[in-house]
Symmetry: C2
């Protein structure tokens, strides 16, 4: 946990999309971390309902632009972020947005605090929260890149259904196990899923390696929470599995585990990394298995960590 | 389906391990294909029970060595294969064995009929049936190797619980979806799972490429039937995704599908291949996604196809 000044916890925070899978975890984490000045926003359908002891407000342009919020955490559909975030910015709130709308826009920092936290301060009202698979991936890649230079990354994902939202979780809970299947429920451009393009483009932006070679295959598995990734990487300089293990063991936000699984990662704040070994198929190759809680470090927790960077910066500037 | 002479279907066939997940599918496939002279063997615990209209016999060395079987299909635990297969061979039966005991033994053919069916005739009583992930993998790799030469293969698996047996299927059926998790339930040598070693060693033997570079990460997913594999491969000569698609579309035992899933493959006899695209991270690289029914082509069907090669050969020799 970052060291956040006590009065930062008095910041007026709006959680937009509070009723969704990520929104609910955001509320839990804010409470755990001592934030008390929180309001919850959602669509008209949920407005007026009670949520975690608060009354849900409708997320209208007017409400978000009213000027009484210091910071907004958005986890809503892409179209809703595109419409609403600019209003909240206009009202003076710094927005940490989970959608893909702003992630690759020049001038919008795309931040994983342990990797490129220094970029958060460069915002003009919006900081983007990366894709749920990009976050654990760059967290593991960064120390290896700093040590030996990344040349190539291949990654296949095992993504839980909570990444597709609360409704997908309900569907998995309701279906008989005979219907458990792998799914590929992202939009397809004829060659790749948008999820695969995001992994490549976001890893490049966060790691500041605009030419990094990344090939991804994304797959949804019938697990409720926790995204896993099988990774092959090639470095410019030799890096032994023992060296990689030592680097990852010292890296912030990572815990080494022999056989990481979603069940072991879910509910926790660290990304689990294991199966660290030589890629016997190539020179300077390493293989890893990475698992993170996609609702926490893959979404809500990373957003709050970004928010804490922004709040700490505001206090310094004030 | 191979063309098998009508009288081959009169062969006296013993199915050993008939009560297991693979054994039951073996019985279904034998009936579908017109074999009528079938006997079923299992452990003492199941002996005397009725199975598919037959009485289960105890799989003892004496029963299997009695000399009244032309061919035995073994799908039992490793230790049971090691003990019993030699007795059945002594009794004059050709044994098609699903365990890993004999697969890498010199002189024992390891056969996927579409890939190296010609090797089946070289047996001395035992033909080994490969690992359930190795079978679909080599089926897809073979036509690409013949066209452009294989240099490297990286594969991550999404293996269904039926690969761990009927009991693992019952466990998945009984557990609440909250407990669905990825598992790694193979024996570990400190670096790799035996499953990963098998994939490499068996692919090398079947493809007759003893130096082929193969790096595998094996993972069990909470799906009942159907094993999937995300594959990156590099060829010696350039091979476009369009050329690879044409080759795989013409290859025996394969059906092209845009987004192959276990649900689409289960219950069928073909291996589904899709997501065929360039590996943007490397020269001469291709990416594929492969799915097969691990109980059928990954086990029972491949064994019966081997048996049909052996029976056709015996008839020619007779």
């Amino acid at each position: 946990m970052l060291s956040v000044p006590h009065d930062a916890r008095k910041a007026r925070i709006g959680v937009v999309g509070a009723t969704g899978a990520v929104g609910r975890v955001t509320l839990e984490l804010l409470r755990e971390r001592g934030y008390r000045n929180v309001r919850v926003f959602a669509s008209a359908r949920s407005a007026g309902k009670e949520l975690a002891g608060m009354t849900v407000e409708e997320a209208t342009p007017q409400a978000l632009a009213a000027g009484d919020l210091d910071l907004c955490l958005f986890s809503v559909e892409t179209a809703a972020s595109r419409e609403l975030v600019p209003h909240a910015v206009r009202g003076g709130a710094v927005c940490v947005d989970k959608s893909s709308v702003f992630r690759l826009q020049p001038g919008v920092p795309l931040v994983v605090p342990e990797v490129n936290g220094v970029r958060a301060a460069e915002h003009s009202g919006i900081v983007a929260n990366p894709n749920c698979c990009a976050i654990p991936l760059v967290l593991a890649l960064k120390p290896l890149h700093d040590a030996a230079g990344l040349r190539r990354v291949r990654v296949s994902t095992y993504q839980s259904v909570s990444g597709a939202g609360a409704q997908a979780m309900e569907q998995l809970r309701a279906q008989p196990p005979e219907e458990n299947d792998l799914r590929m429920d992202w939009s397809f451009d004829g060659v790749e899923f948008d999820e695969e393009v995001k992994l490549r483009e976001e890893a490049r932006k966060i790691l500041e390696l605009p030419e990094l070679a990344v090939s991804a295959t994304c797959v949804r598995v019938p697990v409720l929470v926790g995204h896993a990734e099988a990774v092959w990487l090639q470095t410019e300089e030799p890096l032994s599995p023992e060296q990689a293990t030592a680097l990852l063991g010292d890296a912030p936000g990572i815990r080494l585990e022999q056989f990481p699984t979603p069940g072991a990662a879910a509910g926790g704040d660290t990304v689990l990394v294991g199966r660290i070994r030589r890629d016997v198929s190539d020179e300077n190759g390493l293989v890893l298995f990475i698992v993170g809680d996609n609702l926490r470090k893959g979404a809500a927790l990373n957003a709050i960590q970004i928010a804490e960077l922004v709040l700490a910066e505001q206090r310094v500037a004030a």
